[in-house]
Symmetry: C2
Subunit: 564 residues, 2 copies
């Protein structure tokens, strides 16, 4: 497996904190070539500024650091966590299942070797970023994200509202989430909230018997290379405990899971045998491995399940259909809803965030914005307040399939009913008729809902509805969602967001092809397409050729002007 | 070259007119398999309705018709045109250049053999669809589009406002354009206007020495297969007169060109040598070949050219930069603006529509909605009234690169300043940072502006800014734009637009995979992605596998419910 990540003419740089001078924020710096112009015969060389790019690739792109997947990434946050003095390292893992797997020596060959013992909050210590924020404490994590969100601003004199104190306020009020499980100190801090850069999540994970551990770790690193801000491991097959350990130890971004998937594996796929006890043990197991956020479908209420019967496509959320079935089989309120306070008590001990899963999200244009969907949203609004009471950071998952004219209602209603908690949507897909191209149908909706205020967009790959994505699908899915998120950042006027567009466009106008490629989201692809043109005339691409190159003609104009 | 177009389980059908019973409107019919459900042990089979799909593939998808590219397509509209009695067939082509090419026997091997003599309006006869519409005449072309726009409505009892009389009114008032050069009788009537289905245009054409005639004709047919509603031939290399003839004779959709490109070739690329006389001859040449609409950059005014100097990217329209340079070199108003009435007099004789080219469209996020762009829009608003005075159908071209929050202003201003003439935009691209993926950056903008009222979207391929598109790029570009256009149709509530989404989603829910594929925009790709999953378990795709298939669980729920 290729472990190093490189980008052309890019350098890994670290910006030190001001409040925490030992803390260094990683970024990618692209050095531009200077511009060349002529005044008469005189050649004038003007330098172009370095451009900083938000970097999710962690130590993999630092050529100074030796990567050893068997040891995992450097534990960046461990010192910060320890120095707060409010957590303790346990003498062994707490979950039954975790111990069982540990003691099963047939798994030794699969196992990540250097598992550290887990941390947990000392008794009655509130250790979440939200708890600190409410107390007025600015953590290194908070300063980290403030610097990260402001790239290029200081250098180019762009005003910004994103101070460490602003970050603290947003977290304290629940408008933003900083996922930061104390057992995933390898992750670089990032923030999810509508007053910050729009983030994207990528999903990986095997199903049934497809793909092994190596392949999933490789996909995780690959996703981080292209710009995934968080990573959900949705594995449902064999050895998901061990796969997850490998992924978390080598993942520089927050990791999310849907614990009900593993719980269901533990009862051999028999929904009716799921129980609070099995689920609880799974939560603890994953909290101690270092999962940063859990999707929990606690919004499914027995009284609302029947609402999906009116639909064209019923329930399309895996977790939603599992919990709905459980409720009906037992004719009982779901244990996720009933035990939601207990769940929050567990999550608070590790600073795991809850992502309230939308089990009743619409799976077709026909079902968008229906009673079932909005009834669940109301429940999520109730649950988010309960999470905050326990200092658990929370966000809300959203659709799905929604035609453009119904997107706004989703966002406005979510803000109102869920008290400004961040929204995290899957697309939405704005039409159902393009399987094979659903990264595009969904990017159209994602860009719009991101502009309206959605904080994180869950990517969709070209294989959606058809098959598990391969590496190429992951790449295309990530880039497509980087586009949607960045388009939303521009429309929201995020400070400095337009710097990269301006630099790339200036490079394009000046025929600095290398800069145009190197500043783009996918330099390799841009370059390969350019070469596919078999252009022979140096400066001009085959799209128009030299005589019809508007950029050349437009530059000539300036000279025409000068001659007058 | 493969000439026949096939789609799985599809049949070419023809719906006869009511006003014109001999006129038959082509559509594609997809037959669905029935649904199977169980009530207890009893198997219940319920049929699903046929779904009609808007079909741009012409005779190529009619298995009853023998295609011979050397003879061209059937001349569908010739009888309608002749029967109106207001045109005459000329004894030879009128343009000097056309005669010169005809008499050059070194071109014989390249030439389309069966060139018919051109038609032209009899003296003082107003023969445009707009002229008829203003007189209250409903033509067969108008009824054709009314039936085409209403597919599925009558069968499924969906109300629609699109009657032949409504079509007539929209054309009379300039809100819609029905491109219909009397010398392109092979084209099937279609309509461009904001109260109709959103249309997409695809661009083909060689540049410099890339690609030959065969390849361009093949791309044209390919574009029509995937759903291109009109086709612009932007060739700028050798033999563009002959290439164009081959394309038009074999093109079932309206063809557009930018005549200034060919005019520039005639003066060997020397902008300063362009003149009204050369341009005029080029217009006549192309009118008589059968081009259905011309992009004409008559909105470039000498007084406005300097406005582009403030830009990051100057002028990015090829036609715009050519005309701007001409104005500056001669320090003179452009001959396109000065001779606009003469241009309209020519176009009216053949019913060629004018597409007012936006020579000053922004080519970067930075330059969007600037003074240069809007000054040109004001001029276009003046010109469109002059076109309508001559009964010339007209539409307006638009940007380009525009961030999402500036899209609405474009649409609203265009409607106001251009008196409701249809808008035809390129994208817009909502960010500059994704070369290699500009079909996606632009589809995000295209869907939005389509929803807001843009009538036709010019496609962008993955190779935009980098190289000429190949066949695969054309396919991806067309499908991407079909998605954007269809998303806009759904959001606008076009009658019957949601029928296909509902049918596909129902098929998905019922595991009728074949229907899911066959109803999709690109059945071949959807199927190949499904197979790439190497699924072995029949009904389930590898994305979730059988135990985690929400659709299966959701169907199970219904049974769970029943058992209670």
């Amino acid at each position: 497996m290729k472990q190093k990540i490189t980008f052309p003419r890019s350098e890994k740089v670290y910006i030190p904190g001001k409040l925490f001078p030992n803390m260094r924020v990683a970024m990618r710096k692209v050095e531009q070539v200077p511009s060349t112009t002529f005044e008469g015969e005189e050649k004038i060389i003007t330098p172009n500024p370095d451009i900083f790019i938000y970097d999710t690739s962690g130590a993999f792109s630092d050529q100074q650091i030796t990567i050893d997947l068997k040891k995992g990434l450097p534990r960046l946050r461990e010192e910060w966590i320890q120095s707060r003095g409010d957590v303790e390292q346990l003498s062994e893992v707490s979950s039954q299942y975790g111990r069982m797997r540990r003691d099963d020596h047939t798994l030794d060959s699969l196992r990540f070797e250097h598992i550290a013992l887990p941390y947990r909050a000392k008794a009655n210590q509130p250790i979440t970023q939200m708890a600190y924020a409410k107390q007025g404490i600015i953590t290194p994590e908070m300063e980290y994200v403030s610097i990260r969100e402001n790239m290029n601003c200081e250098d180019l004199g762009i005003e910004t509202h994103i101070t460490p104190e602003f970050v603290r306020q947003e977290i304290a009020e629940g408008r933003a989430v900083l996922p930061a499980n104390i057992n995933h100190p390898e992750a670089e801090p990032m923030i999810i909230g509508r007053n910050f850069l729009v983030k994207i999540n990528t999903n990986i994970g095997n199903s049934a018997t497809t793909s092994g551990i190596d392949e999933e770790v490789e996909k995780a690193i690959w996703s981080c290379k292209w710009g995934g801000d968080t990573l959900m491991d949705l594995s449902t097959g064999e050895n998901i405990h061990e796969t997850r350990e490998w992924i978390i130890r080598n993942c520089p971004v927050p990791v999310g899971t849907v614990p009900i998937y593993q719980a269901l594996e533990k009862v051999n796929g028999k929904v009716e045998e799921l129980s609070w006890e099995i689920y609880r043990d799974t939560l603890i197991e994953q909290c101690e491995q270092g999962v940063d956020y859990f999707t929990i479908h606690a919004g499914i209420r027995l009284q609302n399940v029947h609402l999906a019967e009116k639909r064209l496509c019923g329930i399309v959320s895996r977790g939603g259909s599992i919990m709905s079935k459980w409720c009906l089989v037992h004719n009982q309120e779901s244990f996720l809803y009933e035990h939601f306070d207990d769940i929050c008590d567990i999550l608070a001990q590790y600073d795991v965030a809850v992502s309230l899963g939308d089990g009743l999200r619409p799976g077709s244009i026909h079902d968008a914005n229906d009673e079932a969907q909005f009834a669940e949203l109301d429940t999520m609004g109730e649950l988010v307040l309960r999470a905050w009471d326990k200092n658990v950071q929370a966000f809300i998952e959203g659709p799905g399939h929604v035609p453009m004219h119904k997107i706004k209602e989703n966002m406005e209603r979510q803000i109102e009913k869920c008290h400004n908690a961040p929204f995290y949507t899957l697309g939405p897909l704005v039409t159902d008729i393009a399987p094979g191209y659903d990264h595009i149908t969904s990017a159209i909706g994602a860009a719009q809902i991101g502009w309206l205020g959605t904080a994180m967009l869950c990517y969709v790959t070209p294989k959606e509805h058809l098959a598990l994505p391969d590496k190429e699908d992951v790449r295309v899915g990530v880039i497509t969602y980087k586009i949607a998120a960045h388009a939303a950042d521009l429309a929201k006027g995020h400070p400095g967001a337009q710097v990269r567009d301006n630099a790339l466009s200036k490079a394009r106008y000046e025929f600095r092809w290398k800069d145009q490629f190197d500043l783009s989201l996918d330099p390799e692809r841009a370059l390969s397409y350019f070469h596919a043109g078999k252009h022979t005339e140096g400066e001009y691409c085959t799209m128009c050729g030299p005589n019809f190159c508007a950029m050349r003609l437009s530059r000539d104009l300036k000279n025409t002007k000068t001659k007058e």
